[in-house]
């Protein structure tokens, strides 16, 4: 037997530090660049750039900024106020009760995730806009339509309802691990299913609800596509569209002003991470599991069964069927609106036009590549970060919680712009500029909080003794990760891959600055086509994009991968 080795406590953890440092560098570099830019008077690469607080002065004195900020807060708050309860309720209904068609619903409730927000916004205009299909149908029978798709209320509702799946994902995963006895005790004491849910079950998954709420609030500030399309007509700005406006308002693009807006968003959203950590820490006493998913008995809904089912269907119709129907219809007509007889204008010409477009084939291939292999690589990166901070007490782990959310505090456009600059000005990265590598990095950073969370949840559920047993048997940290942690977290890894696939496939704003000949992606193509006015081709391409995503999900389901198991 070997004699005693003088062990160096820090040396054992060197690999952790290396991984976290790499991740931190990748996250902080674009963020630091943006913050730096906010304190300059001109683009950072211009010879005229000087330290200046003028950017802050301008933005903070601009009434539009405050109005946009307020609108963002209202949207984010309504997302939390609506999406969190609805998402939690949905998760409870699907996971814990005897809702009809539960298996099918498990997949269906995630469908809104498949559809790009731009496509959704568009679809709503086509279906429910002032001259939309449904509006004209309604008006021909019942008179003036009572809704205005461009109103703040409509935007808030749409934005909130379409983000229900984001909350659902995390709450459902947690609910699957809660054993039945707590609920049964409540029922024996006389509580009905609703009361049990509210007072017993859901409080037990409070951390997941908290996580969902924080993530959704972040998304609220980052929203671009929906407020862009739906807010433009009434001139209503949110922070991301206000930021976009700054690209033309003063003549030449004012990056320092854009950077100031990003800093403002970070200042507002990052303290939320502290809140979220508080909620999670508080609720550690609710920890119930040691790594085993329990076969819970279903709570019978009694007379509420079909009502709940109908409510869910209604939500699906409002959030998926209506806009998708709109966009599909738009893709097969040559013109629409007032005075158009739909039967006269049906055509497949828009799909044919895609064929003649430059770069479309490439964009489809690139999107598929990034969404499958790229996403897998991203999940590997997320797994590496998870393992590096796993069971490593210390300040670095805590800091990492904040780091992970940082890139999401930037609207996609700015994140893409910052990555663009990084690749442009950092010598070793330059050759990768117009390749998928830059796009991959931007996507991985920007969606990290979501993908990482699914992996870390799965890893966190593994009982400590299982890892300790391997260590006692002689396995070093790498082997423990390989033999015990990763295999047992398999479901979480696959779920993360699937979610990342979805998010990458429909991503549109982050790539705007990064696409070049050879590295086009569908989402960014959609944006530029739309602003040029080819709504017909946009619709056709959107349909293709959505079908591609649905196919991907179908394949994944076939292979047994689920998002929330």
């Amino acid at each position: 037997m070997a004699t005693a080795l003088a062990a160096v406590p820090g040396g054992r953890d060197l690999w952790r530090v290396a991984i976290i440092a790499t991740g931190a560098a990748a996250i902080l570099a674009p963020v630091a660049l943006v913050v730096y830019q906010s304190f300059l008077s001109a683009p950072f690469f211009s010879a005229r750039a000087r330290f200046s607080l003028d950017g802050y002065a301008f933005v903070l004195a601009d009434e539009d900024f405050w109005v946009a900020g307020l609108n963002s807060v209202i949207l984010a708050a309504s997302m939390v106020a609506i999406a969190v309860p609805v998402g939690a309720a949905l998760a409870y209904l699907v996971v814990r009760t005897d809702l009809p068609a539960r298996r099918a619903l498990e997949t269906l409730v995630l469908v809104p995730l498949f559809v790009s927000p731009m496509v959704l916004a568009f679809g709503y205009v086509v279906s429910l806009g002032p001259v939309g299909f449904l509006t004209t149908a309604y008006e021909s029978v019942l008179g003036a339509a009572p809704w205005n798709i461009y109103s703040m209320l409509a935007t808030a509702l749409i934005v909130a309802l379409t983000h229900v799946p984001h909350v659902y994902l995390y709450v459902a995963a947690a609910l699957r691990l809660v054993p039945s006895d707590s609920e049964e005790a409540a029922r024996v004491a006389g509580a009905g299913p609703g009361r049990t849910a509210l007072t017993v079950t859901l409080p037990m998954v409070l951390p997941s609800i908290g996580v969902g709420a924080v993530l959704v609030f972040f998304l609220g500030f980052e929203l671009f596509g929906l407020p862009y399309v739906l807010g433009d007509p009434e001139g209503r700005l949110v922070l991301s569209t206000y930021l976009y406006k700054l690209t033309t308002r003063l003549g030449t693009p004012s990056y320092q002003l854009m950077a100031v807006v990003v800093v403002a968003i970070m200042v507002v959203t990052l303290p939320l991470v502290t809140l979220q950590r508080l909620v999670t820490a508080q609720a550690r006493r609710y920890a119930t599991v040691r790594g085993k998913a329990v076969r819970a008995r279903l709570v019978p809904l009694g007379r509420w069964r079909w009502l709940a089912f109908a409510a869910i269907m209604l939500w699906l119709v409002a959030v998926v069927i209506v806009p998708l129907a709109g966009i599909t219809l738009r893709s097969v007509v040559s013109s629409w609106g007032l005075g158009v007889n739909l039967a006269d204008v049906l055509t497949l010409r828009n799909y044919a036009a895609i064929d003649s477009m430059r770069g479309v084939g490439r964009s489809i291939v690139n999107t598929a590549l990034i969404a499958t292999f790229g996403a897998a690589l991203s999940v590997a990166a997320y797994a590496a970060f998870t393992l590096a901070t796993h069971r490593w007490p210390g300040w670095f782990s805590r800091v990492f919680d904040y780091l992970v959310l940082l890139p999401r505090a930037m609207p996609g456009i700015v994140a893409g712009l910052a990555i663009f600059w990084l690749f442009l000005f950092v010598a070793p990265l330059k050759p990768l500029l117009n390749t998928l590598a830059s796009i991959w990095l931007a996507y991985t950073l920007v969606w990290m909080p979501f993908g990482l969370r699914l992996v870390s949840n799965a890893v966190g559920q593994i009982g400590e003794e299982l890892e300790d047993a391997a260590r006692v048997a002689g396995a070093g940290p790498g082997r423990v990760a390989r033999d015990v942690v990763l295999p047992l977290a398999r479901h979480g890894l696959l779920a993360s891959w699937l979610l990342t696939f979805l998010l990458f496939a429909r991503e549109y704003s982050t790539g705007i600055y990064l696409i070049g000949p050879g590295s086009e992606v569908m989402g960014a193509m959609l944006v530029s086509l739309w602003s040029a006015g080819n709504i017909d081709v946009v619709s056709a391409l959107s349909v293709i994009n959505t079908v591609m995503i649905a196919l991907g999900i179908a394949i994944a389901l076939r292979l047994g991968i689920a998002l929330d198991e």
């Binding site: 976009y244 690209t247 602003s531």
Partner: protein, 372 residues
């Protein structure tokens, strides 16, 4: 003696034949017009050696594709890569790449006249005297650095299904009156550019102001009809075509005409009191990786062949007077004469980028649009 003569004749005929044959051979490819200098061959050979040309442009695909296809057909050995980027992002992309020494684009071609001029003024372009220079109007060529390639008027667009052609106003003054007279029935049904969000929008409004003050009357009318403002041309085209809006002001006529080709509900009116005409400026950057191919492309776009495609297939309006068709400078000038107000490529364009000029305009505009 006869033998010598025959030999001489034979040699002479052979020589003549050879010369004729050589002259008849195309200069390596089909596309080069005859009046080009002989030195062009060398440049063309260099361009083909470069093998590729990358265009950064904000001209949207469906408009520009015919031009690109025509170029590719004329010069099969020069592969074309077209990167479509919106105008402000185009400016940013170009300046960032140039500053980092990583410029990918060989031709920068944008409808944003003010931003393009700024780049010309700051010395980003290389001087090149195109052989097609003579066929262009003087105001469309700036010091051999940048060239105007199109002749696009600002137009009114309307929904043909709902509005009769005869009723649609044909001049700015008529439009102001129309909006004000019909304010009640036009509520929420009119669109225009938001000058704060659209550089192009601001550009067109400031050109309006150089032709009188009727813009403010129109703005008042827009306020009375609670008009909607947009950042993107496409949005306006779609809303007018669908009937959500009945009318839109100051839309780029070329895109409107292109849409009208496929959608019969799109009506286009080029105002007859004055019509602001803008041109898409193209230049070859100093640091272009493939300058020869870039110049060949530029010359093609300016050539009669290229301009014919621009006019008749792309609906981008040719700038050369010797091209005939529906979307041509020639036709416009014939029909509207001195009402045509092309915007010259000169230093006055820089004024448009001054925040000190922009912000007061925005204030006044916003006030009128909101009906204050």
């Amino acid at each position: 003696m006869l033998k010598k003569n025959t030999e001489e004749t034979m040699i002479k005929s052979l020589a003549a034949g050879l010369v004729l044959a050589l002259m008849a051979l195309p200069a390596h490819a089909v596309g080069v017009p005859e009046n080009y200098p002989p030195s062009y061959k060398a440049m063309l050979a260099a361009a083909e050696k470069e093998g590729k040309v990358v265009i950064y442009s904000n001209t949207e695909q469906f408009a520009v594709n015919p031009v690109l296809d025509a170029f590719q057909a004329a010069f099969p050995n020069i592969k074309l890569d077209y990167v479509e980027i919106k105008s402000s992002e185009l400016y940013n992309r170009f300046v960032s790449e140039a500053s980092a020494g990583a410029l990918q684009g060989d031709v920068i071609w944008s409808s944003s006249m003010d931003l393009q001029f700024k780049l010309l003024d700051e010395g980003f372009a290389q001087a090149y005297a195109s052989p097609e220079k003579a066929a262009l109007p003087a105001w469309a060529v700036y010091k051999d650095l940048g060239y105007g390639t199109t002749f696009e008027p600002a137009a009114f667009i309307y929904n043909k299904r709902v509005l009769q052609e005869a009723a649609v106003p044909k001049s700015h003054a008529a439009l102001a009156k129309y909006l004000s007279d019909n304010a009640a029935s036009l509520q929420g049904k009119v669109g225009t550019y938001d000058p704060q969000k659209s550089g192009l929008g601001y550009f067109l409004y400031s050109q309006d102001l150089r032709n009188g003050t009727v813009l403010w009357d129109i703005a008042k009318g827009l306020g009375q009809t609670k008009a909607r403002q947009y950042s993107a041309t496409g949005n306006m085209l779609e809303k007018v075509a669908s009937g959500e809006h009945l009318l839109a002001y100051n839309v780029v006529g070329s895109y409107a005409l292109l849409k009208a080709k496929s959608d019969p509900s799109m009506g286009v009116v080029i105002p007859n009191d004055y019509a602001v005409v803008m041109t898409r400026i193209a230049f070859v950057p100093k640091d272009a990786k493939r300058p020869n191919a870039a110049k060949v492309f530029l010359d093609f776009v300016l050539s009669k062949a290229g301009q014919e495609v621009i006019a008749n297939k792309a609906s981008l309006f040719s700038i050369r007077q010797d091209v005939e068709g529906e979307a041509t400078a020639a036709k416009l000038t014939r029909e509207l004469g001195s009402a045509i107000k092309p915007v010259a490529i000169n230093a006055e364009l820089l004024d448009l980028l001054e925040p000190t000029k922009r912000l007061p305009f925005f204030k006044k505009w916003q006030g009128l649009i909101e009906g204050k």
